[in-house]
């Protein structure tokens, strides 16, 4: 990936992370851990990959993204705000009464393609969108972002079966493999591993990637584009809480908001990171 592009994406991802902290801090609730682990990938998709335009969010030809792991809405909202779908100021009213930004994604928010949050459901909706694209002869792609804990839901595998059987080659699923779910490490709760083998057995083309390396993210999505005969799943190895030192790999930060002190520290760290990315 070109150095300038990479720097630009890194800077944007850092601002997205700040948005995640801003949102969850002001909401006094929400899910920062998984939002931070998906921040780089969502940034890459919206700023370097997807055919989307905030000026026409309902365009029939646009690429779509379903955040099946809907609890990480703070990351999606922060990306959409950076992209210009709505003012960044909105992030401060996340989860507040009367606010636009609901605790989980809602289809009526500009840029949000599907309501989601009840785990396991988003991938089915993404399958429907991909099927509609095929029926209409459209060239758009549909991205579905899932958690590694989320794939414990049986509906995910119903959808996985459907996608390969119906040749949904315009569908790319991303599994955010940060290894942690609410009750603990996925390996201890009710392990969905081996994730790659499972998707391969369901007829998907499987790609693995480092979720926090834009060169590798670019390689993975470029490979995904080259696959013409199967739905693609990208298993991204990620760090829950990535970018905020005290949140990294800590299961406790799955669904806890930072207090004032933690907010200040997180913002200080992210501000320093952003400064380090300046030319």
């Amino acid at each position: 990936m070109e150095q300038n592009t990479k720097k630009r994406l890194q800077r944007t991802a850092c601002k997205v992370r700040m948005g995640v902290i801003e949102g969850t801090y002001n909401a006094k609730s929400g899910h920062p851990g998984g939002s931070l682990s998906i921040a780089d990938t969502l940034t890459y998709l919206y700023f370097n990959k997807m055919n989307v335009d905030p000026k026409s969010p309902d365009s029939a030809d646009r690429d779509r993204l379903v955040l099946s792991k809907g609890h990480t809405a703070p990351a999606l909202y922060a990306v959409l705000a950076q992209k210009g779908y709505f003012p960044e100021e909105e992030l401060k009213s996340l989860r507040h009464i009367g606010a636009m930004l609901q605790g989980h994604p809602c289809i009526h928010i500009p840029g949000v393609d599907m309501s989601s949050g009840s785990l396991g459901q988003g991938i089915s909706a993404a399958c429907g969108m991909a099927l509609a694209g095929k029926l209409d002869g459209k060239s758009y792609k549909v991205y579905a972002v899932l958690g590694d804990g989320e794939i414990e839901e049986g509906q995910v595998w119903e959808a996985a079966m459907f996608a390969s059987h119906k040749d949904l080659t315009n569908l790319v699923a991303i599994v955010d493999n940060n290894g942690l779910q609410i009750d603990g490490p996925i390996s201890e709760v009710c392990s969905p591993e081996p994730i790659t083998d499972k998707f391969a057995a369901f007829g998907w083309h499987v790609i693995t990637m480092d979720a926090h390396d834009f060169d590798d993210i670019d390689r993975a999505f470029t490979e995904a584009d080259s696959v013409k005969d199967k739905p693609v799943v990208i298993i991204q190895k990620s760090v829950k809480g990535k970018g905020v030192s005290f949140m990294e790999n800590q299961v406790g930060w799955h669904g806890t908001a930072p207090n004032k002190e933690q907010y200040d520290q997180a913002m200080a760290e992210l501000t320093a990171q952003l400064k380090g990315l300046e030319d």
């Binding site: 289809i107 009526h108 459901q121 399958c127 429907g128 099927l131 509609a132 119903e158 079966m161 459907f162």
Partner: protein, 316 residues
């Protein structure tokens, strides 16, 4: 009555989908390995490219329908009522109801008249479940003519619709030449002054029969057909409460949460009068021929007439 034509509303559903497909190019049909039973096979035969079998995976089917609707299609997701409203309830709520997507759910084999398959497949709870979802429209047609009209009305309406169809062949009581379907409007099948029987689905015909029996005994019963259970025609229900002073409801569904409950809610708010419910009591069904089960569970003209007489005693 030898010339009465009988037809299952599931059959009407399959035929209506086929007949409307040309006029509505956005219409697509999904099924979950039950196309022969739900009768979407009729559509599949005519429009194989617009039919998608999702396999035995109702949760995914509802989600796929949501995604299709989000891209402008009008999907009809079809399976038995037990699986559409029961198994897939939460997907219908969150992936279809909450985003208010234009998905039509064709739920066949509703009620006790599933027959021999027994309790696991006799869904007497679907109306109750679907009623609780904000913005969900629920249609329970009484015969072939109404079922076809309901499918057309659902297509012309933008939003989620749950349609309830039966397995059992039931008499065609409406005249296709004059019948007009109006979403959310009850139909007065017969006028009367002593009480009102409010019925839905296959119980409408039983209610009409009951009214005839009652008439022979000097009791004037009004019969109202409520094909749209949600939104309920409250205006008509309250008018009946005011004019006849007592109501008997009749449905092939649990007495908990269905038409009877909906009518009672409307009456207590608008004009409190006694409401006596005919339906499946708080119990599971069991195997047997549909016609025998309907009798056994009191889903008959005889029982409606008997309950009507009891109800009259409650009238102030």
């Amino acid at each position: 009555m030898a010339d009465v034509i009988k037809k299952a509303t599931r059959e009407s559903y399959g035929e209506a989908l086929r007949d409307l497909a040309e006029e509505y190019p956005q219409l697509v049909v999904l099924d979950a390995d039950l196309a022969a039973a739900t009768k979407t096979g009729i559509f599949k035969k005519a429009y194989p490219d617009r039919f998608f079998d999702c396999g035995i995976a109702e949760a995914n089917m509802m989600g796929v329908a949501a995604g299709l609707a989000a891209c402008g299609k009008i999907p009809f997701a079809s399976t038995f009522a037990m699986f559409a409203a029961g198994r897939a309830y939460e997907i219908v709520r969150n992936s279809i109801g909450y985003p208010h997507l234009n998905v039509k759910i064709g739920a066949t084999h509703a009620g006790i008249s599933v027959g021999e398959d027994g309790a696991t497949h006799q869904c007497n709870e679907d109306i109750a479940l679907m009623r609780t979802i904000p913005g969900m429209t629920i249609i329970n047609p009484c015969d072939d003519v109404e079922a076809r009209a309901a499918v057309k009305a659902a297509l012309d309406f933008n939003g989620p619709v749950y349609m309830r169809f039966g397995r059992l062949a039931v008499p065609v009581i409406n005249d296709p030449a004059t019948y007009k379907f109006e979403l959310g409007k009850g139909v007065t099948m017969r006028d009367g002054t002593d009480l009102t029987i409010v019925a839905t689905g296959l119980m409408v015909n039983e209610a009409v029969q009951a009214a005839e029996t009652l008439a022979a005994e000097g009791i004037s019963a009004r019969v109202v057909n409520i094909h749209t259970i949600k939104p309920l025609d409250k205006e008509l229900i309250v008018k009946c409460a005011k004019e006849t002073g007592v109501i008997v409801t009749a449905e092939e569904h649990s007495v908990i949460g269905g038409l009877g409950s909906a009518v009672a809610e409307a009456v207590t708010e608008g004009c409190p009068v006694p409401v006596v419910k005919v339906g499946v009591n708080d119990e599971f069904g069991h195997s047997g021929p549909a016609v025998d089960l309907l009798k056994e569970f009191g889903l008959s003209a005889e029982n409606i007439a008997a309950k009507a007489k009891e109800a009259l005693k409650l009238k102030k």
